[in-house]
């Protein structure tokens, strides 16, 4: 993340906000329905002083990160298993492909029934939804591994597990991280959606329910602004980690950085 890059990103955001502001101020978008960015940003900043909001944000973020961590812990090994053991993949594929398109809206009521603990229930829903990108990207990444690299280690007499750990995983890692970046977004969405659909004592979603019921669209959008910001921050962190860990990948592939 170079300075120039930061500046460009800021310019992009500023440009977007300016266009949105213009669209609202010029009457293209109805100001009564959609408050202009200046108002929303001000509300969003003011929210920092609202302990109800901040504790909600902390709660949501902690559930989000816990869920994401669990999703990684489950999906990477599962993806490795399914990506390397053909019969396991074949046998479970019908079930996995069956489970994948079940939406959270249908799932959350069932999850509430099955898991009385609110925290665990929300975590489960987050994990369930954010599992898939990591799983699929891991499986696809394993397919991409250069067979000659695997053969090289095998020829030295290394077993299957060693080849997996020392060749397949490192060379799949960039692929997996892309999956994690995708999942991070989805996990955040689910962390908030779970609150929107199930309510709770605190959280960004709970805050939004309240703001919506009180006809405070400005607060709803301000909350969305915070959600988006959390997304950008997490992505930035992941990209930075990626850059450090996989320099070889970037340099070798001539990645435009």
């Amino acid at each position: 993340m170079t300075g120039a890059r930061l500046v460009r990103g800021a310019v992009g955001v500023a440009g977007f906000l300016a266009v949105a502001e213009l669209a609202v101020r010029s009457g293209y978008l109805d100001e009564r329905l959609l408050p202009p960015p200046t108002v929303v940003v001000r509300e969003a900043v003011l929210l920092v002083a609202d302990p109800e909001f901040t504790s909600g944000l902390v709660g949501t973020v902690s559930r989000w990160l816990t869920g994401l961590a669990l999703a990684i812990a489950i999906a990477v090994p599962a993806g490795v298993l399914l990506g390397t053991v053909a019969w396991a993949e074949r046998a479970t594929r019908p079930l996995l492909e069956f489970l994948r398109p079940i939406p959270s809206v249908a799932l959350i009521p069932l999850a509430i029934l099955l898991i009385p603990d609110d925290f665990l229930m929300k975590i489960s829903v987050i994990v369930y939804a954010s599992l898939w990108p990591i799983l699929i990207n891991t499986m696809y990444g394993l397919r991409e591994v250069d067979p000659l690299a695997k053969d090289s280690l095998r020829s030295f007499g290394f077993g299957r597990l060693a080849v997996l750990c020392r060749v397949s995983l490192p060379s799949t890692a960039p692929f997996i991280v892309t999956g994690v970046r995708l999942s991070a977004g989805i996990a955040l969405i689910l962390a908030i959606s779970a609150e929107l659909l199930a309510g709770g004592a605190e959280g960004l979603g709970v805050f939004v329910i309240r703001a919506g019921s009180g006809n405070r669209t400005d607060l709803v959008i301000a909350a969305a602004l915070w959600a988006g910001t959390a997304g950008v921050l997490s992505n930035t962190a992941l990209v930075a980690a990626e850059r450090r860990l996989f320099r070889w990948h970037h340099v070798r592939s001539g990645a435009v950085t």
Binding site: D151, S152, L153, S155, G157, S171, W248, H249
Partner: protein, 255 residues
């Protein structure tokens, strides 16, 4: 040490190897030459247990191998893809040594020593993408040599280095072989090289490959780059192998 009996292989319905018989004695270095695409690499992969030949057997010390034999090292023809891009040169060389139960430090030391032997003392911490083709190839050679295998398979290991380095590496391989009693199968396109390093030279026909001839190289050891190559026996052998390999009017220039 190694015995290949009536080995045949086909990719799909393309027959590549058609009954190869071959053996490498204990501590012997056998060179294999043959036209491009005849199946040399396929033969090597079969011996390494990386592909299952359609027919025939590979025996190591009399035992048929079903999987990658123990105590084996391979230098692949496509060296650049066989190096791990996420490891430095030293890391690449050190990795297989894990199997030898060496400590981290011992591995690193052995790797540095091997890199030094191939003339890469200063490049131990470079990543493959920071190295020239010839340097990468030398890392692959260092990796195989540092492993000190009982059986070493090399697929055109010196193709990308200059003449001087090539000679040095040839001598290095001979020296390591002598010190550690390795058995070596070396595929090469350089007929002089096949004679210079070999105890025996096996000549393959075009695909589907069979063994045309297996010539014993009757030259004194240790060999010397200048003296050996000047021997009459050397010149005679290289001409004979040259004749065996050539004589196929298969390339048509656009005159």
């Amino acid at each position: 040490m190694l015995k290949v009996v009536n080995l045949a292989h086909a990719y799909g319905d393309q027959q590549v190897l058609a009954g190869i018989d071959l053996s490498v004695g204990d501590g012997e270095l056998v060179s294999v030459v043959g036209p491009s695409g005849c199946g040399k690499s396929t033969l090597l992969r079969s011996i390494a247990g990386l592909i299952k030949p359609s027919h025939g057997q590979v025996l190591i010390n009399g035992v048929p191998v079903e999987q990658t034999p123990d105590d084996l090292a391979v230098v692949f023809q496509d060296y650049s893809r066989s190096l791990f891009p996420w490891l430095s040169a030293a890391g690449n060389v050190a990795l297989p040594l894990r199997r030898k139960g060496m400590s981290r430090r011992a591995r690193r030391e052995a790797a540095l020593a091997a890199l030094d032997q191939v003339g890469l003392a200063g490049s131990a911490d470079k990543y493959p993408f920071e190295m020239s083709g010839g340097m990468q190839q030398r890392v692959a050679i260092a990796r195989a040599l540092a492993y000190r295998p009982a059986l070493l398979l090399m697929d055109e290991p010196f193709a990308s280095v200059d003449a001087q380095t090539r000679e040095d590496l040839e001598d290095l391989v001979l020296a390591v072989r002598a010190n550690h009693n390795m058995s070596i199968l070396l595929i090469t396109h350089d007929i002089d090289e096949s004679v210079y390093v070999g105890d025996r030279v096996v000549v393959l026909t075009r695909s589907p490959a069979t063994v045309t001839e297996s010539l014993t190289v009757d030259l004194p050891s240790p060999r010397d780059q200048i003296a050996t190559r000047e021997l009459e026996a050397f010149v005679r052998l290289r001409s004979e192998i040259g004749r065996l390999v050539r004589g196929r009017p298969d390339l048509v220039g656009e005159q």
